[in-house]
């Protein structure tokens, strides 16, 4: 039986994993769906249901073993390995992304950074040397990249995404304020703080 797991469920799993990691750091050995739910503002039933798509990880009367549930979630999500990342667009935002220390400890290794501006070429950012965008295709052919992070102006985003996808990249994290199109087999997530704020203003207005 091949059960298609809802994407909403997949999207919640990383937050569960993050909360479990915090509990583990604090030396907690066991957690109930009730307690985890309170920490994450999610109902206990939701957590149990979500986990039940993947197996039976808890013990009645006790709860879940923090370490082992965390390990299983990491396995399910594919967080137990290293992923290769490249960044396209090394303006102010792209630089901040490359220098951000939060990706590497989670297994996301930034291999290269590209920009179309020739003045940036060869400049070192983080511990990378910025490459010209023209080299993107050749680079991808030689060193497969799993995830592309895009931080270019909105008007160039679609083209960059297309080039990443045709180079074999199967996941894109887009920081540009636009909605690029990708084939169904490619994942994309958009990060746009302005959109986030613009939905909150609706409620502020009330």
């Amino acid at each position: 039986m091949v059960l298609e797991i809802p994407e909403v469920v997949i999207n919640r799993l990383p937050t569960y994993a993050r909360a479990l990691a915090t509990l583990a750091e604090n030396g907690e050995a066991v957690v109930s769906s009730q307690a985890l739910g309170e920490a994450l503002d999610v109902t206990p039933a939701q957590i149990r249901k979500d986990l039940s798509y993947f197996g039976r990880f808890g013990k009645q009367g006790r709860g879940y073993n923090v370490q082992s549930l965390l390990a299983r979630l990491r396995e399910i999500l594919g967080l137990d390995r290293q992923w290769h990342v490249c960044v396209v667009g090394v303006g102010r935002l792209g630089q901040a992304i490359v220098e951000y220390g939060g990706f590497e400890p989670q297994g996301f290794k930034i291999l290269a950074a590209f920009d179309s501006n020739p003045e940036l070429e060869g400049r070192s950012i983080g511990n990378l040397s910025v490459q010209n965008l023209d080299e993107l295709g050749a680079f991808l052919a030689e060193r497969p990249v799993d995830i592309g992070i895009v931080a270019v102006p909105a008007e160039n985003t679609q083209e960059i995404v297309d080039r990443l996808v045709s180079g074999g990249v199967r996941a894109v994290l887009n920081y540009a304020p636009t909605t690029p199109h990708v084939p169904a087999e490619v994942s994309i997530r958009n990060i746009d703080p302005v959109l986030a704020m613009q939905s909150m203003t609706y409620y502020l207005k009330l």
Copy 2:
């Protein structure tokens, strides 16, 4: 009849507004739900349904007037006014946020930036002078802030959010990798690129 509008709908409206703004810039006068849907990867029916919560904005046989629909959406979302913002946490990330030029043109005015590190106090970032965190309460009492942007370490996030909320802030944009709790009348949006990547790896793994 007071109809409660689903939050999913509200969350889509800013992307509609963004697409309309682009069309307007390109001089397009009219757009159909079909065309808008193709640009945004949304079904035309979804767009029509979403808009129908708020009124009748289109013309049969023609479509929507780009300018006037955009104006109505901006009004609905409260984007037709200025909102006051403050930033808490002026580390690497917080600095990038304060210096990011994307908020101001959309009506989000950053009034102040706070940090607990006394070494940063008085330092000027963007055109602001960093204030000590101790002054946050007094500042909020004097100059009401609508939206607080939080970019502090995860372990301090809840405390900062609590202080913002008790100072009257009713919307929070959280960049820390944690899930803060807020009262029901306060909106919160979390931005975490690592979580976004961690849900994509599930599909990469397949």
